[in-house]
């Protein structure tokens, strides 16, 4: 005989399912912590040019050359921009020098130049001879991307200028 009114059904017990997840994580987490390396290394592919080296050609754009030099009071951005004036002759290039006090100002200048030539990817960095490797990596990060997006992905580092003989002995 079928009952018209049944007792309310008990909800299924979910504790075994959650316990199995917890047990799995208790096993997985120590294994991961033991087998992984806390220091994650990254590689920065670079091109290095000696002063005066001719670099491979890049797709033509309004900006012909773009260099960032570390000066005494900050960064100096030198950009050779093809003149777009209707009165300018063919191949006229205007060289602009823009100063930036710090990295955020440098990124602002580079963002403006990126707006002029959005397809340009190459930038040349000229660190000071006394710059540390950590600073150079910081600048590479800064010229590759700012908070608005990617800037110049292809970084060419100019090797230090040849100095006069002042070496000691090895």
């Amino acid at each position: 005989m079928r009952r018209l009114f049944r007792d309310p059904a008990q909800p299924p017990d979910t504790r075994p399912a959650i316990l199995s997840v917890v047990s799995l994580m208790v096993i997985l987490l120590p294994m991961l912590l033991m087998t992984t390396n806390a220091r994650k290394l990254a590689g920065l592919p670079l091109a290095v040019s000696a002063p005066g080296d001719q670099l491979p050609p890049i797709p033509p754009g309004p900006i012909e050359t773009l260099d960032v030099t570390l000066g005494e009071s900050g960064f100096v951005v030198r950009a050779s921009v093809r003149s777009t004036d209707v009165l300018a002759g063919s191949g006229d290039v205007e060289t602009r020098e823009l100063a930036a006090d710090d990295l955020s100002a440098l990124q602002g200048v580079l963002r403006t130049l990126k707006g002029l030539d959005s397809k340009r990817q190459r930038i040349t960095l000229v660190p000071g001879t006394d710059s540390r490797a950590a600073d150079v990596v910081l600048w590479i990060d800064a010229v590759k991307q700012d908070r608005h997006g990617p800037l110049f992905a292809e970084v060419v580092l100019q090797s230090p200028q040849v100095r006069g003989p002042s070496a000691g002995t090895p």
Partner: protein
């Protein structure tokens, strides 16, 4: 008031291990595993010829390529762990090439070289090392840094 020694079956919620108590633990484990996987690196621990070497920090997360390893330490320059020259000498030496590195690098096969430079190494030395590697025939030269995503 009389205390009951043997209480009957309770109709209320089960005591002890409850679903509500387990949920935060599962959340915590999930966060921990995500954090570990985010910083996970298959690379073996960094071993440098001069012991502990402080690498520059970067936002990049692309793992370094495999290739000839050039270390620029505080004291010396090393190729695949073998000392090739003095860091202080070549930092101040004239010329853009490090000839002590040039020979050992030319003997190595491959077209990829990775440079691990100490964070405080002067650029006048690191730049020379990078240029020397390129001049020795390595087409792909990269600088190794420590990702900021590290734990």
């Amino acid at each position: 008031m009389k205390r009951r020694l043997f209480s009957g079956s309770t109709a209320g919620p089960p005591q002890g291990l409850s679903t509500g108590a387990l949920a935060p633990m599962v959340d915590l484990f999930t966060l921990l595993i995500v954090a570990v996987l985010r910083t996970w690196s298959a690379e073996p621990p960094l071993e440098t010829p001069e012991g502990e070497m402080q690498l520059p920090l970067t936002r990049e997360e692309t793992p370094p390529e495999r290739g000839v390893v050039i270390d620029v330490g505080v004291d010396g320059l090393y190729v695949d762990g073998w000392r090739a020259g003095s860091a202080s000498y070549w930092a101040d030496a004239e010329g853009a090439l490090v000839t002590d590195l040039y020979g050992p690098l030319q003997q190595r096969a491959g077209d990829s070289a990775v440079v691990r430079a100490h964070a405080d190494a002067p650029w006048r030395l690191v730049g020379k090392v990078l240029l020397t590697a390129q001049q020795a025939g390595f087409e792909r030269v990269s600088l190794v840094a420590e990702s900021r995503a590290s734990l």
